[in-house]
Symmetry: C2
Subunit: 201 residues, 2 copies
């Protein structure tokens, strides 16, 4: 049972690494099995298809990020707006480290899948959408806290959080296109200006 769990995990980790470095369509089940050192029959024992593996992979990787990275970044040891700066800094350090390891800025693993697969696979599109919404939640909470503390004028916290997620995704795509993590460092702080006012009526 432990061995089965290890095999499944190895398939998930390998697929994640390969998709992130290239793309979903460019990586087939055969390559995932070869890289993970798992027989093809074993793959289909765990996953009916590459798409099913991908949905499990998204769930697992997002769960880890949400439960470990996000609480640390959004911890209330510093004032709310500084937490957004810490979040941007985490993004920058991630892309810098990935570039040092691979020679490339790989972008956002969720944004990459959304861009490539949203028109081709409804289940993948919806899964990434729920991840984007999940990411908006702590940003929205920080904005609400900043408004209460008087650090920000009253604003539409929900729409502003969505705008900030859009900006991070766009910035990450721009950094990938430049193959330069410095794009995130230099343009990131402008995110704090993205304010959607409370709509009237």
């Amino acid at each position: 049972m432990t061995q089965a769990h290890d095999t499944k995990q190895r398939l998930l980790d390998t697929a994640q690494k390969l998709f992130y470095a290239r793309s979903y369509e460019d990586v087939g089940v055969q390559e995932i099995c070869r890289e993970a050192d798992v027989k093809k029959g074993s793959f289909y024992h765990f996953f009916p298809s590459k798409r099913d593996l991908t949905l499990d992979m998204l769930d697992a990787s997002w769960k880890e990020f949400r439960e470990t990275e996000l609480p640390a970044v959004f911890a209330s040891d510093i004032p709310p707006l500084q937490r957004l700066e810490r979040f941007l800094d985490m993004q920058y350090r991630h892309h810098k480290a990935v570039k040092e390891q691979t020679g490339q800025v790989l972008g956002c693993p969720y944004g990459n899948l959304a861009g490539e697969m949203s028109t081709q696979d409804e289940a993948i599109r919806e899964r990434v959408l729920s991840i984007f919404r999940d990411l908006e939640a702590p940003i929205e909470a920080v904005l609400a806290e900043a408004v209460t503390a008087g650090d920000l004028e009253k604003l539409d916290t929900r729409a502003t959080a969505a705008a900030m997620v859009a900006y991070i995704e766009g910035l990450t795509l721009l950094a990938k296109t430049h193959n330069d993590p410095e794009v995130v460092r230099t343009l990131g702080p402008a995110m704090l200006n993205l304010v959607v006012p409370v709509s009237e009526g």
Copy 2:
């Protein structure tokens, strides 16, 4: 000669349509030829590879957009900041029309390629990068004009234009992930708050 030109153009148009609806990797030369009603030998007479066709396609489609759509959007018949609003409105109307035609928000054809191919093909990455830079130019000019007119405080016009392009790309990706063009309409105007101050020293 006219016939050859027609054939080549049909291959370019067909590839553009198919890539935009799905992805680069999901569409092969065979399908492009079938849809364009062109023999495979004829394809390779015009293009050594799918990648070469793609570079030509990017050049041609961007040239058309830059020479027809952009001058109309950024024409000086209205104050500078209103031109940015007109640009956002053009984006929204485009995604709305595409959704009505196809049932889907297809995203940005350049951003899609950048996200999928930047780590896999240097020539495609560089071509899309030069398109992003080209798009920054009229935005930068509008910002400079707005500063001169006193509509904006002094700012780093170049960095702000890059931040705005990042935001548009991210917003487009978010709209694609929601499969909803309204994302562009509701969150678009926040782009005008994205200001990168002039750096000191």
